[in-house]
C-alpha cells in the first residue's frame, strides 16, 4: 500500500511548506473571519438580551429548566476529546502517522473547551454571581457545594483546559524555535523568540523534553476520560428518568471521541486544501483516521443500544415511558435523525471507496457531528418534557431563537479562535514530521537484503 508520507522530503522543504501557512492570508481567509465575527455578534446580542431581560426569553420553563445551552456545552466538551486521543494515546502507541495531524487536533481540543466554558456562563440565571462556584476563601467560610457534579465539572474542565493548553504548548516549543529562526522581523519575531524560551535543540533539552511530553501524555488520557464521565455524571447522578443510567459515563466518552474524530476529519480536509498540505496530510493517514472514526462510531452505537436495552429490559416503568416517549413523542424526528446520523451514516466509512473520497468525507463528517449534537439534545430535553411527575409534563415548549442564536454564534467563536491559531502557530508539527521522515528512511536503509544470509 502507498506510504503515509514520502521519506525523501527535504527537511528544509518541510520547514518551508509549513512556515508558508503562516504567511499573510488570502482574501478568503478574511471573508471567513468576518463571517465568524458576524456569528459571534449574533450570539452576543442574544446574550445581552437574555442577561438584561431574564432567562425566560430562552423559552425555558419550570419543566424545561435546561435546554440547548447544556446540550451544546456537552457537545463542545465532547469535541475536545479526540485531540487528546490523537496526540496522547497514539503517541504512547508510537503510531507515528499521528504526527502530521495531531497539532491542529490539540488546538481544536483547547478551543472547543474554551467554547464549552462559555455555555456554562450563558446558562446561569445570575451570571454576575458566577464566581460563587469557585472555591475561594472568604470570611464567612462559605464554599461551593463540593457534592455537586457541576462543581466537579468546574474542576475537571479547568484541569483539562490548562493541561491541554500546556501539552499543546510544550509540544510546540521546538517548532516555535524553527519559526524564530526563520522569521526575521516584526511582532512574530518577538512572539516566537519569547515563546520558544531559547530552545536550541541541545541534547539536554531533548532528553527532558521527551520524558515530559510522555508524562503529560500519560496524565492526559485518564484526565480526558474522567472529564467526560464527570459531565456524564451531571445526568447519571441525578434521578431523572432517561438520565439515571449507569452506562452514561462510557457512553459519553465514546460519543466525545466520536464527534471529535469527525471534527478532525472536517478540519483535516479544510487545512489540507487551504494550506496545500497534501504532502503531509496524506490520504493514507486520512484512511487510518476514518477507520478509527468508524470503530469509535460502532462503539458508540453499541453503548447507545445498551442504554436503550437496559432501560427496556429493566423494571423502571418511568424510564421505559421516557424512552418510548423519546422515540414516538414530539421529539421523535430528532431522535431518529440522531440514530441515522450517528449509527447508520458512519457505516459508509467501512467502504474503501469512501475512506479517501474527501468531498464525501467532508459532508459526512459534518453530518456525524450534527448527529452527535442531536444526541446531546435528545439526552436533555425529552427527560424534562416527560419526567417523573405527569402533572408537570410539558410537550410543547421549544427553545427560542435566543437559544438558537447563541448556539449558532458559538460555532463562529470556535472558527475565529481556530483560524487565528492557524495563522500564528504552525498547524503541522515540523520537527515531528522530520522525525517521522527520518525514522522511516532509516527503516528503509536497514531493510534486510533480499538475499539474506540466514
Amino acid at each position: 500500500m502507498e506510504k503515509d508520507i514520502r521519506e525523501d522530503i527535504a527537511w528544509a522543504q518541510i520547514n518551508k511548506d509549513v512556515l508558508k501557512s503562516l504567511e499573510s492570508p488570502r482574501r478568503l481567509y478574511w471573508v471567513i473571519l468576518l463571517i465568524a465575527l458576524a456569528m459571534i455578534s449574533v450570539a452576543v446580542g442574544c446574550e445581552i438580551y437574555q442577561y438584561t431581560t431574564g432567562m425566560g426569553v430562552s423559552n425555558k420553563n419550570n419543566s424545561h429548566v435546561w435546554s440547548l445551552y447544556i446540550a451544546t456545552f456537552i457537545f463542545w466538551i465532547g469535541m475536545s476529546h479526540s485531540g487528546t486521543l490523537l496526540s496522547a494515546i497514539l503517541h504512547l502507541m508510537h503510531a507515528d502517522w499521528r504526527k502530521p495531524i495531531y497539532r491542529f487536533a490539540e488546538a481544536m481540543t483547547t478551543f472547543s473547551l474554551m467554547t464549552a466554558g462559555l455555555f456554562v456562563m450563558v446558562h446561569l440565571g445570575r451570571l454576575w454571581q458566577v464566581y460563587y462556584v469557585m472555591p475561594y476563601p472568604n470570611e464567612r467560610w462559605v464554599w461551593p457545594n463540593f457534592q455537586s457534579p457541576l462543581v466537579w465539572d468546574m474542576f475537571a474542565i479547568a484541569t483539562y483546559l490548562s493541561s491541554s493548553v500546556l501539552f499543546l504548548y510544550v509540544g510546540m516549543i521546538p517548532d516555535l524555535a524553527i519559526c524564530r529562526d526563520n522569521i526575521h522581523a516584526g511582532w512574530r519575531k518577538k512572539l516566537y523568540t519569547v515563546m520558544s524560551l531559547g530552545w536550541e535543540g541541545t541534547d539536554r533539552q531533548w532528553r527532558n523534553f521527551r520524558v515530559t511530553y510522555l508524562t503529560i501524555a500519560c496524565f492526559l488520557i485518564p484526565l480526558a476520560v474522567s472529564v467526560h464521565s464527570i459531565v456524564a455524571s451531571d445526568f447519571a447522578m441525578s434521578n431523572m428518568p432517561g438520565w439515571h443510567v449507569t452506562s452514561f459515563p462510557p457512553y459519553f466518552v465514546a460519543g466525545a471521541l466520536y464527534s471529535g474524530c469527525a471534527a478532525i476529519i472536517t478540519l483535516f480536509i479544510i487545512l489540507r486544501y487551504v494550506f496545500r498540505f497534501e504532502e503531509y496530510m496524506t490520504l493514507p493517514i486520512m484512511k487510518k483516521l476514518v477507520r478509527l472514526t468508524f470503530a469509535i462510531a460502532m462503539v458508540w452505537t453499541y453503548l447507545n443500544l445498551i442504554e436503550f436495552a437496559s432501560v427496556w429490559y429493566g423494571h423502571d416503568q418511568t424510564a421505559k415511558d421516557q424512552l418510548i416517549f423519546k422515540a414516538t413523542g414530539p421529539y421523535a424526528p430528532f431522535f431518529w435523525a440522531m440514530i441515522f446520523f450517528g449509527s447508520i451514516l458512519p457505516l459508509m466509512l467501512a467502504f474503501k471507496r469512501f475512506q479517501t473520497h474527501l468531498p464525501i468525507l467532508f459532508v459526512v463528517s459534518i453530518l456525524l457531528n450534527v448527529g452527535m449534537w442531536l444526541e446531546r439534545w435528545m439526552i436533555i430535553s425529552p427527560s424534562f418534557a416527560h419526567g417523573h411527575y405527569p402533572w408537570t409534563w410539558d410537550h410543547d415548549q421549544w427553545p427560542s431563537l435566543v437559544q438558537w442564536g447563541i448556539v449558532f454564534g458559538s460555532f463562529g467563536w470556535f472558527t475565529l479562535l481556530f483560524m487565528v491559531f492557524c495563522k500564528v502557530f504552525p498547524s503541522v508539527s515540523m520537527y515531528e514530521v522530520k522525525e517521522m521522515v527520518y525514522h522511516r528512511s532509516l527503516a528503509l536503509k536497514h531493510k534486510p537484503a533480499v538475499k539474506g544470509d540466514y
Binding site: Y132, V133, N145
Partner: protein, 284 residues
C-alpha cells in the same frame, strides 16, 4: 478550615444527617394532608401568594410555564373508560415535600439549598446562581424559577399593590430559584418567642399560611419530634416512618387499610409531607 478540626471530629463528619442514632433534636417540621377533606378550593394557593409575595405572572407567561404557585392544586380523574367522572375528581395539593434526603440539595453547585437543623429544605436566595440543577433533579417539580425580573421590569405589583407585600419575606429578583419554605418566617418567629420563654414551640402555636386558611382543615403541620403534636400522632397511627422508603402499608397485609402514604417514596427522597388517601363510599 482547620485540618485538626477535621481529623478530631472525623466520625461526626462521617455521620449522615439525620440518622437513627442522630435524630432531629428539637424540631422536625412535617405536614400531613388529608385528601379526603381536601375539596380543591385553591384557598391554600391564594393564601401562599399573599404570605410569600408570589408574583402573578399573567396569561402569556403562565402559558409558557413560568407560573409561581408554591402550593398547587392538582386534579386527577380516574374514570378509566367510564362515560362520566362519576366518582368525582382527586385533588392533591402539591408543595415542596421538604425531603429528608433531598435530591435538590446535593446537586446545587453553590450550596444555595441545604437541610436545616429543624428538617427544612432551605433555599438561600442570595446565594443562588440560577443553575437550576435543583429543579432538574426534583422529582416533584415544586421548585419555581424567576425567569424574569417580576418586581422591577415586569412590575407585577403596580403602585399601590406593592404595599401588600409581606415585609417578612424577600421579594425575589430574576435568576433565583424559589419554592415552598413551610412559611419559615413564621417558624422563626415562633421559635425565637419560645426560646425567650425557655421552652419549645407548642403544637398549634405556629401555622403555615395554607394550613391556617384551609376551610376543611385538611392540612396539619407541626413538629414531628414533639410527642404531643397532632402531625406526629397522625404519622404514628398511619405507621409512616420518615427514613423509610417502604412503609407498613406496603408490606403488611393487615396494614393495607392505612391511609397514609408519601409520593414517589420509592425514589428514597423521604418526604416530610404525608398524604392521607381519599375515600369513596362503596355503597353508592
Amino acid at each position: 478550615m482547620s485540618i485538626t478540626n477535621l481529623l478530631e471530629n472525623w466520625s461526626d463528619f462521617r455521620q449522615q444527617h439525620p440518622s437513627d442514632d442522630r435524630p432531629h433534636r428539637e424540631y422536625k417540621w412535617a405536614m400531613s394532608i388529608d385528601l379526603d377533606s381536601c375539596t380543591g378550593c385553591n384557598a391554600c394557593s391564594v393564601a401562599c401568594y399573599a404570605e410569600n409575595n408570589l408574583p402573578v405572572v399573567g396569561k402569556v407567561k403562565f402559558s409558557h410555564g413560568h407560573s409561581h404557585h408554591w402550593i398547587r392544586i392538582e386534579r386527577y380523574w380516574d374514570n378509566d373508560g367510564r362515560e362520566f367522572a362519576d366518582q368525582g375528581a382527586q385533588f392533591l395539593p402539591m408543595l415542596c415535600q421538604h425531603c429528608e434526603s433531598a435530591p435538590c440539595e446535593t446537586v446545587c453547585p453553590v450550596g444555595a439549598t441545604n437541610h436545616t437543623a429543624d428538617g427544612l429544605n432551605s433555599q438561600v436566595y442570595n446565594r443562588c446562581v440560577g443553575s437550576r440543577y435543583c429543579n432538574a433533579n426534583c422529582p416533584y417539580k415544586v421548585r419555581y424559577f424567576n425567569w424574569y425580573d417580576y418586581p422591577t421590569t415586569d412590575n407585577v405589583w403596580p403602585e399601590p399593590m406593592n404595599q401588600q407585600l409581606n415585609p417578612d419575606v424577600t421579594v425575589r429578583g430574576k435568576g433565583v430559584m424559589e419554592k415552598c419554605t413551610f412559611c419559615v418566617q413564621r417558624l422563626t418567629v415562633a421559635k425565637s418567642n419560645a426560646r425567650t420563654e425557655g421552652r419549645l414551640v407548642l403544637d398549634g402555636e405556629v401555622q403555615t399560611a395554607c394550613q391556617q386558611v384551609c376551610p376543611t382543615g385538611a392540612i396539619t403541620f407541626g413538629n414531628l419530634v414533639d410527642p404531643l403534636a397532632k402531625v406526629g400522632k397522625q404519622w404514628m397511627t398511619q405507621q409512616v416512618e420518615l427514613n423509610k422508603d417502604k412503609q407498613a402499608k406496603n408490606e403488611a397485609e393487615e396494614a393495607a387499610k392505612l391511609r397514609g402514604y408519601r409520593i414517589l417514596e420509592e425514589l428514597r427522597t423521604y418526604p416530610s409531607v404525608m398524604y392521607l388517601e381519599q375515600l369513596r363510599e362503596s355503597a353508592i
